[in-house]
């Protein structure tokens, strides 16, 4: 007669038990595991397994300094009075709750365009007709009027341009960004004013600005460079891994100008629209408030 297998947290050393639990990639598994017994629950919480799972999914989280848990009314929770747990233990339990929910969010697929508004462009040729706001409109022609953003002209092809946007939520997971360059049918030869390559940055507003010349944003993620096609179509740029953007700022960096405008001999970049696809954005009041 064979014995049934035993609770491995009893007969294995903690490091090996940890190795087993770390193989679990689904936050729901970690929650169910903590329901099995008090010992397993304590093991999951005290080893910060939910937080570690989130860090594996999104290395960008390593920049997070601390997490504040809000209750259902959106108010910061307080430690229970007379709680027998130490401060460290309370912090571990809070982390466990917050990161369990967070991990769950990150896996729920709600695809949406998450650019809420345009913040600024590095340059604009004719303001406001050719401003960055035109890129929020998918169509390149509205009631007979062309809708696109134009950079200012440069003789040096290596002067980059940036388009900076605010996302729909402070916490977003971005999987892909779509951009369509503009084809000027009203010019001879119908030139397409694309860029040679594009790169994306994500981050948040700087906490304090000492003087106006300071860079306004802190970038927590920079994507690899993607080559851009010289074609008038919506071009998809899929990030190598879904990226967690904390702070809600996305910047499109257009590198190397390609198209010269015949009229003035300068190189321009013109863009019809920018779309940014997220797989979920956090709206749950229980989780929020992340300080970087």
């Amino acid at each position: 007669m064979m014995d049934h297998g035993n609770d491995f947290s009893n007969w294995l050393d903690p490091d090996t038990s940890l190795k087993i639990f770390k193989c679990l990639d689904d936050p729901a598994d970690l929650v169910r595991v903590s329901c099995v017994s008090r010992t397993w629950r304590d093991f999951v919480v005290e080893n910060g397994l939910s937080k570690q799972l989130c860090l594996r999914m999104f290395p960008q989280l390593s920049r997070v300094a601390c997490v504040v848990e809000l209750n259902q009314n959106g108010v910061k929770g307080h430690a229970e009075v007379g709680s027998s747990r130490s401060m460290e233990s309370l912090a571990l339990w809070k982390d466990h709750r917050v990161f369990s929910y967070f991990a769950r969010f990150c896996l729920s697929p709600i695809a949406m365009d998450c650019i809420a508004k345009a913040i600024c462009a590095s340059s604009t040729d004719n303001f406001p007709q050719e401003s960055i706001d035109q890129t929020l409109e998918e169509r390149d022609n509205i009631a007979g009027r062309f809708s696109y953003w134009s950079s200012s002209g440069q003789s040096n092809p290596n002067v980059p341009e940036t388009l900076t946007y605010q996302l729909a939520s402070q916490i977003c997971i971005i999987k892909e960004i779509n951009i369509q360059p503009f084809q000027a049918h009203f010019q001879m030869g119908s030139p397409i004013y694309s860029a040679k390559s594009v790169r994306f940055k994500m981050g948040h507003l700087k906490a304090s600005l000492n003087d106006l010349s300071d860079e306004m944003f802190v970038w927590t993620y920079t994507s690899p460079e993607f080559p851009m096609a010289q074609e008038n179509r919506l071009q998809k740029f899929i990030l190598p891994e879904p990226v967690l953007c904390i702070g809600g700022i996305l910047q499109v960096e257009l590198l190397e100008r390609v198209q010269r405008q015949e009229m003035d001999g300068l190189l321009y970049i013109w863009c019809v629209s920018s779309l940014c696809f997220s797989c979920s954005s956090s709206g749950d009041p229980v989780v929020t408030s992340i300080y970087c």
């Binding site: 090996t16 190795k19 087993i20 936050p27 598994d29 329901c35 099995v36």
Partner: protein
């Protein structure tokens, strides 16, 4: 000349003696995958028989076969064959003998038996007593309702 010498050393055989007395003759390069055995050899170069007091012959045979055959395909099939008792003893053996590839493979195997299963099932498979109070468990299940949906049937 140099070639012959290296050939000779790589085909040197070693004997491993399991806890129940079963003897296994293995090539040196196979034995060296077990870091514990490697340490033994480093300490006493001339040794021919190494005792493995913590591992039964049955499991040592499986471990040796694993080392010889391990690759992605083999590993994927390997973990399916064993019941919890054997997994348990094999993992203890892998830990004692310090074979990182086998440790990883077995940890994944045990994790697979937890994935997407209900707590009741996991308790049964690992023979774990539920020491949550009914109120505690009810609270957990309510708070994390989402985690208890779509679980594999027991």
């Amino acid at each position: 000349m140099a070639e012959e010498k290296s050939q000779a050393s790589s085909s040197k055989m070693l004997t491993l003696k399991a806890s129940d007395g079963v003897l296994f003759e293995v090539e040196l390069n196979i034995a060296k995958e077990m870091k514990t055995v490697q340490a033994y050899i480093d300490d006493c170069e001339d040794i021919e028989t190494i005792p493995i007091p913590n591992v039964l012959g049955k499991h040592l045979a499986i471990v040796i076969e694993y080392i010889k055959k391990t690759n992605e395909e083999y590993d994927a099939e390997f973990e399916k064959q064993w019941n919890m008792d054997d997994l348990q003893l094999l993992l203890l053996a892998a830990n004692y003998l310090n074979i990182s590839g086998l440790q990883e493979c077995l940890c994944k195997a045990i994790a697979k038996r937890i994935e997407n299963k209900s707590p009741e099932y996991v308790r049964k498979v690992f023979n774990i007593e539920n020491d949550h109070s009914p109120e505690e468990e009810a609270k957990l299940r309510k708070e994390y309702k989402w985690a208890f949906e779509g679980v594999d049937k027991d």
